[in-house]
Amino acid sequence: MDRSPTSRRRRSLLKGAGAAAALGVAGFPAIVRAQSDAIRIGHLTPRTGFLGPLGEYAVMGVNLAVDEINAAGGIMGRKIDLIAEDSVNPQTASTKAERLIERDKVVAIIGEISSASGLAIAQVAQRNRILFFNTGCNSDELRGKSCNRYMFHTEAANSMYVSACGQALLRDGMVKGKKWYSLTADYAFGHDLLKVAKRFMTANGGAFAADELVATDVADFSPYLLKIRNAKPDLVVSNLAGAQITNFMKQYLEFGLPFPVAGFGFDTAVAWGAGKGNVLGIWPLVWDSQLKTPASQRFTDAFVKKYGKPPENQAWGDYMSTKHVAQAMNEIKSTDSTKVVEHLEKGAKFDILKAREGYYRGWDHQLMQEMYTITFKKAADVKDRWDLFTLSPPVPAAGQSLEVIAPTREENNCTMPA
């Protein structure tokens, strides 16, 4: 073969394909501000890639919380200095968590949306005995097999999402004797969600017409839609995540399939990103700005004032976690992570902008809280681009224990390593 200088061109095309794939994993560095007497808190969340849209809301939420805490006197009179970075992927998340703890001496790390990255950060936090508040990872496994003493979960677990949406499905007679066709995101989150959904479905007398794994880079759902059309299920179930839900909903309506749709994982940004007339189904939700409690309205108003648009549920997660960290440290007058853990494990109560207060359950550190389901409005009833759905009353209902929707020890046991 001729080895002239240009002979590597064809091979460079292949390198191009590889580099194109690499484009998806490159992140952006953050600018670190330093303040000597401040208390540093680290924030890690995906700001690029398919979870990036949610990460943007997470960053807005944490910044608003820090503004408010600092305006109210900070933590024990010291200001919070927030160091926020793009977590990119599990490897980068782990490296950045190490650096935040060792170099920047943060007292806690808040954030994350990807369950895989969340696990990576949790391991670093556990090793260094530093708090990690998970604001967006849903996998039950993080609360069960992979639980640890320094990790707390403001985000609801997959089980809680399934229970919340499941109650609506039971009410509508969509489970017993019905055939489900499910599409599941083919990564840690999806696998975990599928397991929980399957448990719920079989326990309540439903069965799968089919359950299919969908790679996270699938953008064209047409082949799946043809299969669903031929399978004629009673219910189509989405265990997808992020932008994929937008694509799925848009194309489902494009093909005009007649089967009802429900999903077990959802974020409001997905619906806003699809837009009026492109959304359908019953979905679970952890919080929404339609909630009329005074604290919820205050948060929504402050958020709209600062950013010019309503907060998304991911903004709630990071806002809440930051508030809880500051409140707990102020209550015990210490920033020591181990002492905060002990305080929270005793069942400290927190305002979570919902009708009932929440608390972090002692044995798995999951925030016990009310959940909701949403039903999309008809296009004609939609007032503006943010007003796409109606919110159900809280699940569990007022008289019930908050724990009825959470996984039991038998379902998801956690033994905290020392």
Binding site: A19, K227, V270
Partner: protein
């Protein structure tokens, strides 16, 4: 019944091939003539979609379909003049670095200007709905998409085969030194080719915006698959890319039918097989300077 379902997937796959086709054609054009692997091609696709959303408010979808690619072509001209032009004859690695950086800058710029959250956009009301042919179902919108993609492919083919412009471009692909020796400067041709290629990407962006999420990383998502189509089709081969796009669409559809978890992996497997047995791609021409 099963046979009908398989046939249905094959027909749908041919349609779905149009998904990557326009982007892959642009990639292959720029690479064949300039030797530049344009990793920023996805960014032009994303720009096309964002422009369409902004333009559709005033011009309607039809207007956006025309104006958005033209606007992106103008940006392409500027980028070509200021940046690409310096890298045609350089080590390909430099071109990779340049376009890799450009893609990052473009994605982050979109994030700054429009926000990271996806932006809603719908199929125009007149094009909503489905057409039923016997057992088969077709989305009206996708049929239109296919028609526009087919028209673009036909137009491009006529341009390259039947015009003096096309003759120079094809000669330039085969042997730029000879073209230069004949006293023809390839530089203005290269500018036109880049403008044309990014306009095709933008057209794809406009067409896909109503049926997929519009967000800053959308370009990166589609680029890898488009590269695979180019590699399978073979370098410098116009019809190779067209065939490869259709084959990838069909193979994906069939994999979804028989073994869904491997649906996306199937095209990479196909690429490996093609490279093993036909290193130049299915229809790759023997181009002296790339050997």
């Amino acid at each position: 019944m099963m046979l009908i379902e398989i046939l249905e997937q094959v027909l749908n796959g041919l349609l779905a091939g149009a998904y990557y086709l326009l982007i892959a054609l642009g990639l292959t054009l720029i690479f064949s003539l300039g030797g530049l692997v344009n990793l920023a091609h996805g960014a032009f696709y994303a720009l096309g979609a964002y422009f369409a959303i902004k333009l559709a408010d005033t011009l309607g979808f039809g207007g956006a379909l025309v104006v958005s690619p033209l606007a992106v072509a103008l940006i392409g001209l500027v980028v070509e003049r200021l940046l690409f032009r310096r890298f045609y004859r350089e080590d390909p690695a430099l071109g990779l670095l340049l376009t890799f950086g450009l893609a990052l800058v473009a994605e982050q710029a979109l994030r700054w200007i429009f926000g990271a959250a996806p932006i809603p956009f719908s199929i125009p009301p007149a094009l909503k709905g489905q057409i039923f042919v016997g057992d088969f179902i077709y989305s009206k919108y996708r049929l239109l998409m296919l028609a526009i993609a087919a028209a673009a492919v036909a137009g491009l083919w006529l341009l390259l085969r039947r015009t003096p412009f096309g003759r120079v471009v094809r000669a330039g692909v085969q042997n730029p030194d000879m073209v230069a020796a004949l006293g023809i400067s390839l530089s203005p041709y290269m500018a036109s080719v880049v403008a044309l290629a990014v306009a095709l990407a933008a057209l794809a962006g406009v067409l896909l915006a109503p049926i997929s999420g519009v967000h800053p990383a959308m370009g990166t998502d589609i680029l890898t698959a488009s590269f695979v189509v180019v590699v399978i089709g073979g370098l410098g081969s116009f019809w190779g890319v067209v065939w490869a796009a259709l084959i990838v669409g069909v193979v994906r559809g069939l994999t979804v039918y028989f073994f869904p978890p491997a649906a996306e992996a199937s095209m990479y497997l196909l690429m490996v097989l093609v490279l093993l047995f036909r290193p130049r791609g299915l229809f790759g021409e023997r181009i002296q300077r790339f050997e």
